[in-house]
Amino acid sequence: MARASARKLSRRRFLVDTARTASGVALFGLGVGLYAKRSESLPATAIRPPGAGAEGDFLGACIRCGLCVRDCPYDTLKLALPEEPVATGTPFFEARKIPCEMCEDIPCVKACPTGALDKNLTDIDQARMGLAVLIDQENCLNFLGLRCDVCYRVCPLIDKAITLEPRHNVRSGMHALFIPVVHSEACTGCGKCEHACVLDQAAIKVLPDRLAKGELGRHYRVGWKEKQRAGGSLVTPDVEHRYNLPEGMEYDYEGQGLKRKGADTPFPDNPLDSLNRKSGGRP
């Protein structure tokens, strides 16, 4: 009898102890889990090394060994410290401090033992670490009409990832603006432009794609692209567009604009010219 109740008591005790341990550990796990979830949001200034997947995947793939850090010849990469807002121990860089120099042999990817940095990335031009955005169009010197061009000049993919687009300078009325324009299909997000920007705060910054880019609704179709792909109009057949032009005039689509039918000179912008021509230059 006594034996049985003692056994009962010890079983009871075992169950209570187990429950105690389990709930303690579960509580602890909840804390760790919440903390881990919170660390999943990467700050916009932190850029992952080339070949890193989406943040969620990367945090499951990178074991924080730092081998990529060691093999980066430019000391671009560093492992996050516990107090930094990047998941502890994971590699990242800040473009404004040290950008990625886009090594041709991509030693960081080669060093990664786990494949957290994707081994399929063999051409560094295909890396997509982020996307440069000329964020501050008020202070960018080129927007002010000066010829700084530094971001353009330093870009390893100059004229592909970033181009200078001439625009009319409305302020002076007689100069051009050379606007740096980043092209997402070529920009690797290396951050050399952000690093080189001469302003105290860079006007051009590399942002994670999710911040840098908008996204069309899934159901959106861009008409002219669809038409090009289909090789013809997908809706009603195109009617040839016709201008309501005065007798004897036609419109040249190749850039000459309005001109007299058959003539090879365009209709002059300045009305005085045509008046003068009509009068044959006579007073």
Binding site: G29, T114, G115
Partner: protein, 299 residues
Amino acid sequence: MSPLHPGREAVLAKGWWRAHKWLLLRRTSQFGILALFLAGPWFGWWIVKGNLASSLTLDVLPLTDPYVLLQSFLAGHAVAATAILGAAIVTVFYLLVGGRVYCSWVCPLNLVTDAAAWLRRRLNIKGSARMSRQTRYWVLGLTFLLALLTGTLAWEMVNPVSMFHRGLIFGLGFAWAIILGVFLFDLFVLRQGWCGHVCPVGAFYGLLTVPSLVRVSAAQREKCDDCMDCFAVCPEPQVIRPALKGAEQGIGPVIRSPQCTNCGRCIDVCALDVFRFATRFHSATKPHIRVAQNKEVSS
């Protein structure tokens, strides 16, 4: 009686060096491994790169922590071959020498918890919270569950073991506070708290210990004079009793518990040389005589 100065008799009987042999070897191993990792960043001698999570030695030998890799696998990552090879090498190594050799011969946090244990003995701090030593297996399961549920290495965000080693090599930051926390926890809250109750890394390597080859054996247990020194210094004292006192129940002299760290401190502090390293297949040579002697002692 839990002696304030365990091992004093051993020093008298065997001399200081022999009474600290395994401790010294162990410290040499711990600091030596740390030195190998630090030689690169400090002096530019890149013998070993990386950290305990994964490293590359002499540019050829990849070594990867199987525990962290398992978490990554559970998080859903298709792990690359190099890491798998590295983890296989490490696993085989620990299967031979004992999984928790990681704890006592490699892990840098062990230096901290050993220091806490030493100070605790010195200051004669008695009070201790109550926590099951099985808690670590729950925590181990939890870390795997977290990886599975969050798809990230959630545990590695807070793991003091990897944080400390990585910190020493790549910069500590505020990780020192967490390490200090572990030290104080062990010193004031729970005796052998971290390594003996909570740490899932130790628990994982303990699982590798289960089938491992090299074990400590109480080979001459019949000589034991119950001085209790081994119990005082052992980081997992509960593992000793079955092997040391189990002769009558027919339990072999080999310490089989997966919690034994193969630190060898019991070998050091025993003035009568009861313990020694052996293989798991070791059994006392003359069981009958031993049993008889044991009876004499206990009567």
